[in-house]
């Protein structure tokens, strides 16, 4: 076979929809159907020009943190392993394995580095749709923190 498709079951354009109910100057962008998200696995989304990592947890909650991994400078957080530390639902960076609390973005395990937290976004699930809160006045993009870390234990690049 030669044809390969990568189309998810539903795609919703990421047009910010300002909902009148919000007291702050916050708009809710509909990103996808909750059914598009695999429980306990992340997915990246483009929200308001920013890369966001969405996670659907085992209990059905959806969380959003920045896709940028502050320790490696790559946009990969959605590809980390979801789990828990104590009560906290967590994601571990797939790059250098720092662990973050998905509720607050707090860095719980910095793996020998200075902890850096992740930005989080409020998320709503309504009528099977996942919506992420975006400020009506766009915020400055999260600055990329570029770092190089050598991890001798993980020499995956040499097959």
């Amino acid at each position: 076979m030669t044809t390969t498709t990568t189309t998810p079951s539903s795609t919703t354009p990421s047009v910010p929809v300002v909902l009148g109910t919000s007291s702050d100057a916050v708009g809710w962008t509909t990103v996808c159907h909750v059914a598009d998200l695999v429980p306990e696995r992340g997915a990246a989304a483009l929200v308001d020009g920013q890369q966001v990592a969405l996670f659907r947890l085992a209990d059905g909650t959806v969380r959003a943190v920045q896709q940028l991994d502050p320790f490696s400078g790559a946009h990969v957080m959605s590809r980390g392993i979801v789990g828990s530390r104590g009560d906290a639902p967590t994601v571990a960076s797939p790059m250098y394995k720092q662990v973050f609390d998905l509720r607050t973005g707090r860095c719980l395990e910095a793996v020998g580095r200075e902890p850096v937290d992740l930005r989080t976004w409020p998320v709503r699930v309504e009528g099977g749709l996942v919506m992420v809160a975006v400020p009506v006045t766009p915020s400055a993009p999260v600055a990329a923190v570029a770092v190089t870390v050598v991890d001798p234990a993980d020499d995956e690049v040499t097959p």
Binding site: M1, T2, T4, T5, T6, T7, P8, S9, T11, T12, P13, S14, V31, C32, D36, L37, V38, E40, R41, A43, A44, A45, L46, V47, Q51, L54, L57, A58, D59, L68, S72, G73, A74, H75, V76, R79, G80, I81, V82, G83, S84, R85, G86, D87, P89, T90, A92, P94, M95, K97, V99, A144, A146, T148, P152, A153, E156, V157, T158, P159
Partner: protein
Amino acid sequence: MDTSPREDSPDELAPPTTGPVDGVIGELTEPKHPGPATETPGTYRAGMGASRHLVVVGGGMVAHRLVEALRDRDDAGTWRVTLYAEEPRAPYDRVALTSYFSGRDASDLALGTPDLWDDPLVHLVRDTRVTEIDRAARTVTTVRNGGSGPTAVEPYDALVLATGSYAAVPPIEGSDLPGVFVYRTIDDVAALRGWVEEAAARWKRPVRGAVVGGGLLGLEAAGALQALGAQSTVIQFGPRLMPLQVDEGGGEALRRLINGKGVAVRLNTSTTRMRPGRDGKVRRMDFADGGRLDADVVVLATGVRPRDELARAAGLDVGERGGVVVDAGCRTADPHVYAAGEVACIDGAVHGIVAPGYAMAEVVVDRLLGGQAVFPGADTATKLKLSGVDVASFGDAFATTEGALELVHADPVAGIYTKLVLSDDAKTLLGGVLVGDASAYASLRPMLGRALDGDPGAYLLPEGAGSAGRPATTLPDDATVCSCNNVTAATVRGAVTEHGCTDLAAVKACTKAGTSCGSCLPLVKKLVTTELESAGITVSKALCEHFDLSRAQLFDVVRVTGLTTFSEILTKHGRDGLPQGARGCDICKPVVASILGSLDTGHVLEGETATLQDTNDHVMANLQKDGSYSVVPRIPGGEVTPEGLMVIGQVAKDYGLYTKITGGQRIDMFGARLEQLPEIWGRLVDAGFESGHAYGKSLRTVKSCVGSTWCRFGVQDSVALAVELELRYRGLRSPHKFKLGVSGCARECAEARGKDVGVIATDKGWNVYVGGNGGFTPRHAQLLAEDLDTQTLVRTIDRFLMYYIRTADRLQRTAPWVEEVEGGLEGVRAVVMDDSLGIAADLDAAMARHVDLYQDEWKATLEDPEKLRRFASFINAPTTPDPSLAYVAERGQVRPATPEERLASSDGSGPVLVAGTTLEVRR
């Protein structure tokens, strides 16, 4: 352009005689700290605040221990030390010299840490001999080897003679012929090895070797000759082997064992001369009884003599049979001159083993610092370091104590002779001889001079025999556990209870126990485990906060219960009292995924298992630093057709991928974006490629040389075997990645011994080595079995791998596993070759299931739209590339832009970046 299709062409090799030899010598000789080595002896250096100057003559094991101990204890820095070493290298582990042949890593011969030689108060002068001592002036004269350099005179406040011994050369005609060697230094063994390899290449038949001397050293040398592929005959003057250590009964059992190893033994034989062949090299040995023996190489192992010539010339007393006479404080008659190690004659005796020398070194240091330490007496316990021949002797092995009782257990069929020497009331252990099964050695030796618990006879039974087995001994605190390093049971226990060591490695580092000959390791390990247990420190093998079990335990649980989902495994076997929402983590999830993978070889992306996987396993590619992935199709045995190469080339070109040949003999394509992976793999799978599992903790590659099909030296078809093995073990999930290698002859072009499993062709079949790896802590693989036919070889590897998969810790590679698993390498051999645990059939069945159920993960994924969903770059823009990716061109390919380049490019001052690698995509 070089059109040679092979990278492992033997033509590129240095001739075998110099290649390996240079390798090892180079490593140990290479001045790590060129300063001291090249300086003129006697030059003053920084750090000269110390008021007193110690000169040590000789750079051997005892000198090393002395300097180490001095720097450890002399906190005030009252002494600075100059060490003169005649050999061109820093002190090394002479005890382990023979391991040079079995290819343990050369740097393993290094002693201690190299920073000792960086210490400003320590000055190592290599390649330099002390030629004279002027005791009146308190100076030594030194000369650099080669004789060309100037002599220098160096004053001392204290002098230590640690010149060791030289190998005795018996006055036999012909002992100076080329091809006759002694066995004492790295240079000796390197020359011996070169000679044998050259002879093998020249004669195209097995090299005939002979060893004169049937003591400990002679037997070690005979084993070494054999390891080099030579035949070997031991010629012993006396009526039995190892006469100093074992009695008659033991000697006979030993002879049979040695014969069983394929080494011939001639007892009661006196060599009268060695005769050259027409080429002037040694060719034949003549014996007093009229017999003769053809020999292309002869090793003389007839004993050592103390190097006491400096002391003699300086008018110091020497013992009757040589050796510098010292008192219990290791001092000679001259209060400024000490002697320690093999050169010293203490209590009227010269000791040819390292433990008493180390004890002397400690005494000298204590004295130098004003203490009153005395030599505690020598522990002469010895254990032969010859693989497959278990011999140990300790204490009063010949029952010379008045009224001593001997308790003997002999089993000629099993080749076992064991004897305990007990006091007249049959309670106190005085000594022993263990031949054929020395497993009790480590626990018996520290009991010397103490009452044994229970029936002494029980100690002589083979390990595990009878329902009771051996009595468990509680070692008294002051019992010496490691005699090489004089470490007591209390010290080992203290390492756990006071210094917080929680594993064997930490205890070794902390106490030095087990760091020399290693024979005490089983006991040290037992002590450590007991201590940890009783201190309530469960040796935490717990995986993570979610599981108390170790990986090996979890593996058993999953295998026995047949559970197949993480949720169930966590609920039923997770730690007690986990919070409600506990969901595992990045540690336990991949472990469970790997275990499930090893057990039923379902697709790695099936159902819940998919959520357990690391991103690499999840998208079946290797995550790179910028978030893109690399793609590695399997190229079994490194064999690829031109058509295959063209497909890879075209794919790389179309997707703008950076390509690089890997160390595993295949091609890695970098810079593939998540959403491109299915398309790229679609093309590769169409062309007949399959996943290379470069991303998994699983088999990577089976590296091979070109072997007998093309290579003029090859004796077996290494490529065919490599392909067979790679196809057999592909996709096999394991505690860590593992690699195999196959070489077509002993030249080892495939570097198989650097692999977890290395196979090297012999005339008769295959030798298999296990436990090698490169990387952070390189290890050479150790010989597991010899001359196997292909079928037995495959079965052996099957079992080895399955046993490893079942019992290793998380991320434990085969080398540390072999060290830690029950019984070490011997234990592995027993399980794999002799089915000592009765699990071989089970292991075989597990491997058969793996081979049956194997499927290509990528092919299966491409056929399943559900699985393909995970390759969307964004859930709401599935084909939009990650906008942050940026590349620059370098040497005709792309590489990720550095942060500086990104900045420079955004303000217009830097290079133009390629956004992603989309531009090149051809549809």
